[in-house]
């Protein structure tokens, strides 16, 4: 974008509305764009937040307070989004805090601040106005002092004192590469900002396994840049050890910490702390929580499965799909004999832990197999049953709209295997498995 969007100054709260407790101080503008609504609020002297109602018709409502003001109330409203000026809701400061408009009114030693309009106990030359933010007795930094926001104190012995409001970049530290960072830094190390694509999280984030949180910027010349956020001094393991696996992997394998160190095709992996034969950005010290030890298969970047750089110069990376996937079935709660056709227990959960759908209803799945069609199968409630003699055991329709049916959290009683059936000779296949080998030659030519 060529111009900086006014929306960058606001934090969006989707589906929220700030209730006007003084209707006479609300300004209504209809049928204007979101960008225009934000611009006018920024330009208006006492606008600090606005409701942008988009249904049934577009209305922009400017408000002179934010949600954390006394008497203010924020309620749910799916037809409206709330935008609040960040400076009024931020609890930390950026730079020297000249823009700070928060509500702290005590100094670092706990003294109460003197009202800015008052000249007692300390006389001074500052006069509150609608633009300088010298409101009530809140800490402010009208003279750009490097110590940050300060105030005159009500203690006759102490004229003024800093309020010690933290820097946003220090307020929340990041562990590992900051994947879990949810703080309020919203600009890059050189001060560039995030475009207005999605304001409620235009703060710095690390969604793609970069070394540190970053953001896209409004500088057309610079697409993205990392942000300056303090690293926590101690390095706790980001996930509890219990989520780590060593002889199988779950999901994409980010928590796999086993010692397989060759690819599926048996090629030894390259050490992570080596740059040959393949140069790469995954330094163990930069990705300290990804377990990049030795040359073990790992998944530091959200790939499909654990992988590694290979020791073959002509093959840069390869997946380690020979590592088993952990069974993600829940603990079996019962057992069945044979194929479970006669099971009459009360388990009503699938092997993935999804609740079963009742046999007698048709939502979310239409039940072609139901108590009417199978009166003998005891299809009561949503208990697991095997009305069609499925060789893989009792099953049920599920309450997950995406999973029509699934097998249940029931295992076969010990020591039973369904028999192998030897079909009659001369099984005939038609309309399948036909191939015209002559065709290949013509195509490859």
């Amino acid at each position: 974008q060529v111009h900086r969007s006014a929306l960058n100054d606001f934090q969006r709260s989707e589906g929220r509305e700030l209730v006007a407790f003084k209707a006479d101080r609300v300004t209504m503008l209809s049928a204007i764009t979101l960008e225009e609504c934000a611009k006018r609020c920024s330009e208006s002297i006492d606008c600090r937040a606005f409701n942008y109602v988009f249904r049934p018709s577009v209305i922009c409502k400017h408000l002179p307070w934010v949600g954390n003001t006394a008497n203010a109330e924020v309620k749910r409203n799916v037809n409206c989004d709330l935008y609040e000026m960040k400076v009024y809701i931020r609890k930390c400061i950026i730079g020297n805090g000249e823009e700070y408009r928060g509500g702290v009114s005590k100094t670092m030693s706990g003294r109460t601040c003197q009202q800015w309009w008052s000249k007692f106990p300390h006389d001074h030359r500052y006069t509150p106005s609608s633009t300088n933010g010298l409101e009530l007795n809140f800490c402010r930094n009208p003279d750009g002092d490097i110590i940050g926001p300060w105030c005159y104190t009500t203690d006759p012995e102490r004229r003024y004192e800093s309020c010690n409001i933290p820097q946003c970049k220090d307020e929340v530290c990041i562990t590992c590469n900051g994947e879990d960072y949810r703080g309020q830094v919203d600009r890059t190390v050189s001060g560039r900002e995030y475009p207005d694509k999605s304001l409620d999280d235009n703060y710095c984030r690390n969604p793609d396994a970069s070394p540190v949180p970053w953001c896209y910027t409004t500088d057309p010349e610079v697409e993205r840049e990392r942000c300056d956020i303090r690293k926590c001094s101690e390095v706790p393991k980001r996930r509890s050890r219990s989520s780590y696996t060593t002889n199988c992997f779950r999901g994409r394998g980010e928590d796999y910490r086993g010692k397989i160190n060759e690819t599926t095709s048996g090629i030894p992996c390259q050490r992570w702390d080596a740059q040959s034969p393949h140069k790469h950005p995954f330094y163990p010290h930069t990705y300290e929580c990804k377990g990049l030890e030795e040359n073990y298969c790992r998944n530091p970047d959200g790939s499909e499965a654990p992988w590694c750089f290979t020791s073959k110069s002509e093959m840069r990376t390869a997946l380690c799909l020979q590592i088993k996937r952990c069974a993600d079935d829940i603990e079996a709660e019962d057992c069945y004999n044979g194929n479970g056709k006669n099971y009459r227990g009360i388990v009503r959960k699938t092997r993935k832990g999804i609740l079963c759908q009742k046999w007698s209803v048709n939502t979310p799945h239409k039940t072609r197999i139901n108590p009417e069609a199978h009166p003998e199968a005891n299809l009561t409630e949503n208990y697991c049953r095997n009305p069609d003699g499925d060789l893989h055991g009792p099953w049920c329709y599920t309450t997950d709209p995406k999973t029509e049916f699934d097998y249940c959290a029931i295992k076969q009683c010990a020591g039973e295997d369904p028999p192998i059936i030897m079909p009659p000779e001369g099984v005939v296949f038609n309309e399948c498995g036909k191939r015209d080998d002559r065709m290949l030659k013509s195509r490859l030519r």
Binding site: T263, T264, D329, R351, D406, I421, G433, K434
Partner: protein, 257 residues
């Protein structure tokens, strides 16, 4: 496929992932990756079509069977995933005649221990001389030892072939009892084996999920699904597959429901 030759397998499909974010794509791509000092990176976009990551077989016009090992979960978001068929090329050119690319719309995981998944196509595949469905064996059928079979895929050849075209390798069924001599009894009833050639023939990376098709008079029957093994085409090592006949009832049930 290690030890194979270019061939034709109209039921074999190439499963494509969604195009991946810059960072991953740039790192895993062998070309156009530019690296600067002071750990900042400049990303240069490379082509954004999904890449071949696993194989599959058409068991009817709307369903493809593959292995769960290729997917991170039974609830994975398949947006952007697709199946390509009707071509022998791993990366067919835009608009190549006969090629069909169909989005995947649903994944259904098989019974536990089957390591199988069924993938529903968003629209039915059009059957012609390039695209056809493979036969399913009778339930719990044990294909006789010595039956002629073949595997097919666009995966790693370990230098024995051209990975840009579909490779096919021939092999014969080996009984589980004989196979268990090599694998010390680890081969289960829901698995099956094929003989190993001394030259080393077998499936490898990115072939997983593809077919082991065995001949039955003039038809080809899907007797096995390729699953990852340690080492590919290792000399003297039999190949292990999931025995499809153990799960034909589940396959039919999913397709019917």
């Amino acid at each position: 496929i290690v030890g194979g030759t270019p061939g034709n397998s109209p039921w074999t499909v190439s499963l494509r992932d969604r195009s991946v974010p810059f960072l991953i794509l740039s790192i895993l791509s062998l070309t156009l990756f530019i690296f600067t000092v002071a750990d900042e990176m400049i990303f240069v976009p490379v082509d954004r079509k999904g890449k071949h990551f696993c194989g599959g077989s058409l068991v009817n016009s709307k369903w493809v069977i593959s292995t769960k090992q290729c997917f991170s979960s039974c609830y994975v978001d398949l947006t952007g995933y697709a199946a390509i068929m009707g071509t022998v090329f791993r990366d067919p050119k835009e608009g190549e005649a006969g090629t069909q690319s169909i989005a995947l719309s649903k994944i259904v995981c098989g019974p536990s221990e089957s390591h199988l998944v069924l993938l529903q196509l968003e629209t039915p595949a059009e059957f012609n001389e390039r695209v056809s469905q493979i036969c399913l064996p009778p339930e719990r059928y044990i294909v006789p030892e010595g039956t002629a079979c073949e595997i097919a895929g666009w995966g790693e050849t370990k230098g024995t072939g051209d990975e840009t075209v579909l490779n096919v390798a021939q092999m014969q069924v080996q009984s589980n009892s004989e196979c268990n001599q090599y694998f010390k009894g680890r081969v289960k009833q829901n698995e099956m084996c094929t003989t190993s050639f001394f030259g080393g023939v077998g499936a490898c990376e990115k072939d997983y999920g593809g077919p082991l098709a065995c001949q039955n008079s003039d038809c080809w029957v899907l007797e096995g699904v390729i699953i990852p093994m340690r080492r590919c085409g290792h000399q003297g090592q039999p190949n292990i597959f999931i025995r499809v006949s153990m799960y034909v009832d589940w396959i039919k049930k999913v397709m019917e429901m």
